[in-house]
Amino acid sequence: MKFGIIVTSVVAALFLSANTWATDVEVKDPWIAEAPPGAFAVGAFMTLSNSAGIERKLVSISSPAAERVEMHTTIIKDGVASMVEQSELLIPAGGEFVLKPGGYHIMLIRPQAMKAGDEVEMMLKFANGEVQGVTAQVRKRMSGGGHAHHHHH
């Protein structure tokens, strides 16, 4: 009987750790910039850290707090700003992908009303089928397009 429990525990532990191995992408410091009331879209930002030995691709995002979610980057060329939609974000093996104001960002389109302090759920879907839930906090923009660094883990 004890042997059975041990085997079950070991197998369970292996399954759990296998899931841990599959979740190689760590989402660091997810946040959403508070926007003026009635904003058409709000920006979500985070750092995606990939500890795996192969690249990971973020291919789509969903959220109950928005009509739809897109990934974009801002390009400023010859003094003109434009946004380019991304079909995927490539996180290099053993590397990071940073989403920040003025650069790559997640667009939550037709979002629910949100203000600093609110928490918003998002589901990140990767090319390998992995899905990760993320809770992002809404924060006021600070200088340089950044955000307040409080409660850092």
Partner: protein, 222 residues
């Protein structure tokens, strides 16, 4: 120049006197225009990275737009104050909030450091009048600071302003007819109290550097 012998009309020397007078006028005019080189000397002053002084401060021709209060917005609305100006649209999720937040920062830095703000304003011009009504613009700018002002106009009315400043914008198709994006100039334009286009700040903007450049520009403009 010819000799100063007086001559009467009709005498042989009169044409030469006329030429001398014309030459003198031309010389004085040349000296006066030359004083603009002193003005140009200001252009050689280093106002810091990312700030470009216009070679000639062009006073804008009048324009006729609509302000966030729904009332007429013209040169008169801007005269008497320096204005930092940004062209964008409220459906913009990234560049425009960053720019207006930078305006907020510029204002805050000057407040904290004791600069006079009585003659400084911040203007947001929407280049997307199809979606940005005055009310929508008002909600947008007032979110960043209650003192910020906004304006827009019909295509023709916008062009009366944007053409004078080299501002560029164009619609980009989106997922639906209503959800288009707009490419637009990313810089910040500086208008002086005479509503002359004085300087341009390139993106990305560092509020600290913008304030430092503005101080120099303002000092030499007075």
């Amino acid at each position: 120049m010819t000799d100063s012998q007086p001559a009467k009309p009709g005498s042989k020397a009169f044409p030469y006197l006329l030429i001398a007078v014309v030459a003198l006028i031309a010389l004085l005019a040349g000296i006066r225009f030359g004083q603009q080189d002193e003005d140009k000397g200001m252009r050689l002053i280093d106002v810091g990275p990312g700030a470009i002084l216009m070679p000639q401060t062009k006073v804008l021709a009048d324009f006729n737009m609509i302000g966030q209060d729904g009332k007429a917005f013209t040169k008169a609305s801007l005269r008497g104050k320096w204005h930092f100006v940004f062209f964008g649209y409220t459906y913009c999720p990234d560049v425009c909030p960053v720019a207006l937040n930078n305006f907020r920062e510029v204002k805050a830095i000057m407040e904290v450091q004791g600069d006079s703000l009585e003659d400084v304003g911040f203007l947001f011009v929407s280049v997307d009048p199809d979606r940005d009504t005055p009310e929508r613009i008002a909600r947008y700018v007032e979110y960043f600071d209650p003192s910020f002002i906004g304006a827009t106009g019909s295509e023709q009315e916008l062009q009366m302003l944007t053409r004078q400043m080299g501002v560029v914008y164009r619609k980009v198709d989106g997922k639906t007819e209503q959800d288009y994006l707009v490419d637009h100039s990313a810089g910040v334009f500086l208008l002086n109290p005479d509503v002359g286009f004085q300087a341009y700040f390139t993106a990305p903007h560092d509020p600290i550097k913008v304030v430092a450049a503005f101080r120099k520009i303002r000092e030499f403009g007075e």
